[in-house]
Symmetry: D2
Subunit: 223 residues, 4 copies
């Protein structure tokens, strides 16, 4: 559903990515994707999802989806609504938004039926292997201690990425494997791909950059 | 911040209120507000909030807001983002999305500083009194057992509404008091206002109606 | 750590298993284990764990353990405390007490170091396979819809049990595989073992029985 | 139900308070209560509750109780079970174990019927006032930032304690008001009582002390 290699930008709930800020970040991703031919996806803030998905041509993802079916679910975000919004998928189980395993299974199972792309975030190789058994579209391994540090997982903890690639490919060979945590430069992206992943998931490296478009261009240089 | 008496429509996560369905419901509210002069607010699905807030002139509310500050909060919804989206407030602690009391306090305190309208949902008169001590903008009492039944709280359990009005006014006289659960007709609205509330909070009575606009028109007849 | 085949009795938080009731159930398990030579383990109510573990010779398990290390964790139950109480292990992720996958991984990893037996409960074969990748001591598959019904998983949904056995053995061949939900007779136990499990996990079939000891004796007849 | 002034010792989940360590702490409390005539209550680790409640004559409290009724509630702790264990009450909503407001209300309401003492922990004066509206047996205000610091709330933030006393007495004059966070000496206790409380709630000041009995004796000197 997404072309790889891919750069997935999670704008989190930063003040820089609210409203117009989030819109400009999405437009910057679109421009860089256009200019470089590199696939870039964006995860807008949850309340901006429908709006931004209507405004950009690049693929949009929700930052989170709940294990809830349409109905009396005030304030919860169903997979069906996310799909209707124009997004093609969702991050699931991000380090800042962990889920119960039975709920991850329910979401992945429903996503398969609805042709919806789930990117399941994990904290290490063992949990990546566990998630692989549920056969999700994609798995993104992110050691929590490196998130937001600028110290890239692909350079500082390559064994976590390699371990994930090895274990996941054994259990679910079609999984799109990404890595994240501390990714901020083209070199980090290059290292990630050399370790066997098909892309990266990142946030602060672009959102907090003085010049987000320049940061994105640098990232694409690693592909 | 909202003119009273008021009708607040929570579209929940129903399949009828996703995407275009939610947009049409918002437009129906806007039309009925225009035609009747009655104040109507809408709570779109979370991922549709920015989009719909840009498209309608009536006040929009989030269905839920998390006790999180802007930052590394993947998938959580901050008050700051909701405000930036164009919404004027949020439901908080809905029966289907309960919060910890310390978190309700944190949200209400921040909302006061940011001139943001919180409607704190409660399940009975005692909890309404407790919430009143936090001095929120509005309190909406909704006995959970009646939600979605079509049996209106204002007619079936008037003592819950009266008890809430009495206790809340003693502690926080400026609170806008609403009631909800089972509200679906103008008579239910009339009964709610006669019990001392300044409006109603409802969902399925309009969202699931064959003709939502007609249902809204009927509701406004109670004011 | 536990001899198999095994019957694991979870007394839940039933009124029948509080205080003296729980003590008598533990003693009944001990007597039946003595008389029949069948291995029986008990999971007392959480607040009774240290007390009952001191009073019976059969292995005791906690009903739940939190992913918390010793420290400032008011009201949470650490694996270290459970082990110190005299219990040899804990149920983890019961249908009525689900956990986040990163927390299950943390508990299983710590349990391996401390020679502590985790029985990870799962709801279907796919989640059993996922959990197997974490290499826990034991996995107990229990379809939630059958729990407490008296309709036994081993007879009503043998494919869930067989699927679990097949998938788990491929990923973690040393796992002790149990099944549960609706188990109440020796025939149910026999069917479970014929499907490739090494025992059963049950609750109401004994706790709610008019004569719990007779119910236990009947269960052992299936082994 | 408890005689005041009172010192309530929460042993949390510290390694020092597991098993025999917890037993010795309970015995030290009993000895100091005997020797000084000061009322001391203890909150053992959850899994030690029945055991320790049988071994000491001083009042025992659970560290936490869930808003669950007896039944299929694996691993949850009901008020009924805590009462059956011999404890006379429970901490509720501790800073490390926050609850939803509707659940606090459910627990307080049930506790009143069962003559069970709830000590509801709060983080500031406003939340104390909110909780007071639910009419619990006792309220213990503890600013989270001071917990475990040794900087006592009664000396460092007296206005929080005074504000709590004033607001709570207005709403629920019979409440037993305690304060906690950083309490470790008799002077801290004295200051707390001079601010209008009827006692203190503390943990590390005794549990982590080189000589817990000496620490307890020092605390009683403040009464």
């Amino acid at each position: 559903m997404i072309k790889t290699p891919v750069i997935v930008l999670n704008v989190k709930a930063y003040s820089e990515s609210m409203g117009e800020g989030g819109f400009k970040l999405a437009k910057a991703c679109e421009e860089v994707a256009d200019e470089t031919g590199v696939n870039i996806c964006i995860c807008p803030q949850q309340t901006d999802l429908s709006w931004i998905a209507k405004e950009v041509k690049i693929p949009c993802f929700a930052q989170h989806v709940d294990a809830a079916d349409p109905g009396s679910q005030t304030g919860w975000v169903t997979l069906e609504t996310v799909k209707t919004s124009g997004a093609i998928g969702s991050l699931v189980n991000h380090s800042e938004h962990r889920l119960k395993i039975a709920d991850i299974d329910a979401i992945v199972t429903k996503a398969r039926k609805l042709d919806f792309a789930t990117i399941i975030c994990t904290n290490n190789a063992a949990v990546s292997a566990a998630v692989a058994a549920l056969k999700p579209y994609s798995i993104a391994v992110e050691p929590p201690a490196l998130i937001g540090t600028g110290i890239s997982v692909s350079k500082a903890e390559p064994e976590v990425v390699e371990g994930t690639v090895k274990l996941v490919k054994d259990i679910h060979k079609d999984a799109v494997i990404l890595c994240g945590a501390g990714i901020s430069t083209g070199e980090d992206v290059k290292a990630a791909i050399e370790l066997g992943t098909e892309g990266v998931l990142l946030a602060s490296g672009v959102v907090k950059a003085k010049d987000p478009k320049a940061a994105l261009l640098d990232l694409t240089s690693g592909i």
